[in-house]
């Protein structure tokens, strides 16, 4: 694991330097927040919309960084022989994965922080009721979605293909899992499909922690299980 911190820092700089990645992870979710808040108001059940939107969109950011940006980076590195050069060094595939994951999750942390600051400054967001639960749920969400992104990046041959597959996985998932529109407002049939996606437990757990409700241990266990299975599969499938 030598030099991991170094590699993470440099990969984060590279992600921020990429205008597409920076736009999608930072600006795009903020624009969605603004559009959604023009309708403002409260959700069915009486919760102010902003208190649902910020935690929801934090999952949107994690999903985008994990499922779209990360696999595209990894697949592009393979396509352009960046990985081939790394393979001739003592760096291990676990380290490459770890650094890619950490750098993209730091990008998502920036996106989440930006949403929180906008929410607090402009829309009267109430802070997370249970910060520890939110952090735990966010990290597990990042691990589970990130490991799926690593798996896509390990399997897909080119950066372009990875972007297409990443978007095809990401967009339907954010709509049905309640990361874009609040679960309360989704039709029952859509919500039951959404509950089968790996994004749903992250949305449920982060929102529960934010509102101060007890976080369902099942959602946390599902995320941990996804991380172990998809992460293991990604390491096995990885080609330089």
């Amino acid at each position: 694991m030598k030099g991991l911190g170094n590699v993470i820092a440099i990969e984060l700089k590279l992600a921020v330097r990429d205008p597409m990645a920076a736009f999608f992870a930072l600006a795009f979710p903020a624009v969605i927040l603004w559009v959604k808040m023009r309708n403002g108001g409260t959700l069915p059940g009486g919760l102010p919309a902003i208190d649902a939107l910020v935690p929801m969109l934090s999952v949107f950011v994690v999903g985008l960084a994990s499922l779209v940006v990360l696999p595209a980076t990894l697949a592009q590195y393979r396509e352009r022989h960046v990985l081939k050069r790394l393979r001739a060094t003592p760096a291990s595939s676990t380290m490459i994965f770890g650094a890619q994951w950490a750098a993209h999750m730091l990008l998502a942390v920036l996106g989440t922080a930006l949403l929180t600051v906008i929410g607090l400054a402009a829309y009267g967001l109430s802070g997370p009721a249970n910060l520890a639960d939110v952090v735990l749920a966010w990290v597990l969400g990042a691990l589970s979605l990130g490991s799926i992104g690593l798996l896509i990046g390990a399997l897909v041959p080119s950066g372009r293909a990875a972007t297409v597959i990443g978007l095809a996985v990401f967009f339907p998932m954010v709509f049905v899992s309640g990361a874009m529109s609040a679960r309360e407002t989704l039709p029952e049939s859509m919500r039951s499909i959404g509950d089968l996606t790996p994004m749903a437990p992250a949305v449920q757990a982060i929102r529960a922690g934010w509102e101060g409700h007890p976080v369902s241990p099942l959602t946390l266990a599902v995320m941990a299980a996804i991380f172990i299975v998809a992460g293991g599969a990604a390491l096995k499938a990885f080609r330089w």
Partner: protein, 237 residues
């Protein structure tokens, strides 16, 4: 003392036999050239020796280690510049050196290396914006950043203009003068003649000659390495 000992090395890709049986020895502190036509197996030899490919048969020792079983340990002590290798577009020269240095247990001082190889003025330049010559210079520096005992250079000067090529030759001699063993894969006879202490000519997956450039010229009763080379691989121009 031999730093690389290759005996009867074999490697096939699907139906294509890349290495039929390659045997050669590289001594410590020399510049060893590997010559041969396209598809002769030059790159495959380098990739097997630097642990990037697993040979099908034969024995292979680099610094006394088998790259198949002690790959990670070996990679701490060798450096490589590979054909077609790349870095991320947006990475800066200084960042690349710093990052690669962090992979090794006993790295060189990357800042000093950057100075020595004249890369300091490009420290903040992005990889994608570098010319071919600067990219190659960075790749040489990256091959040296782990303080290697052996460096593999695969077609280092292909695509460089004559000035940059001459400059690179000087850099390769500097490397040897510091005690690094250099394995140089090249297409250029003038390059091999000017730089290499010994060379192996590989054709159709076999070594057809191993010795100094002078020996090769004498043996072929030729005037230059280029003529000797064509005599040896039985092709005419």
């Amino acid at each position: 003392m031999a730093v690389i000992e290759i005996n009867g090395l074999q490697k096939s890709y699907r139906t294509h036999k890349a290495l039929d049986s390659v045997t050669l020895t590289v001594e410590r502190g020399e510049i060893f050239g590997i010559l041969g036509p396209n598809g002769a197996g030059k790159t495959t030899v380098v990739e097997c020796a630097s642990g990037l490919r697993k040979p099908d048969g034969g024995t292979l020792r680099v610094l006394g280690m088998d790259p198949r079983t002690r790959r990670r340990e070996l990679l701490q002590r060798i450096g490589a510049q590979l054909q077609e290798a790349a870095l991320p577009d947006a990475i800066k020269v200084g960042e690349a050196l710093q990052m690669y240095a962090s992979f090794y247990d006993k790295p060189a001082d990357w800042r000093a290396l950057m100075q020595e190889w004249g890369l300091a003025e490009k420290k903040r330049a992005r990889f994608a914006g570098l010319s071919g010559g600067w990219k190659q210079r960075l790749f040489i520096a990256l091959a040296l950043v782990g303080n290697p005992e052996v460096v593999f250079l695969d077609e280092l000067t292909t695509g460089l203009d004559p000035d940059a090529r001459r400059l690179t030759w000087g850099l390769i001699r500097d490397m040897r003068d510091r005690g690094v063993t250099v394995v140089l894969v090249t297409h250029f006879m003038d390059e091999a003649e000017a730089l290499c202490d010994r060379i192996a000519v590989i054709d159709q997956g076999r070594v057809v000659h191993e010795g100094s450039p002078g020996e090769l010229i004498d043996r072929s009763h030729a005037d230059s390495l280029e003529d000797a080379y064509f005599t040896l691989i039985e092709r005419t121009v």
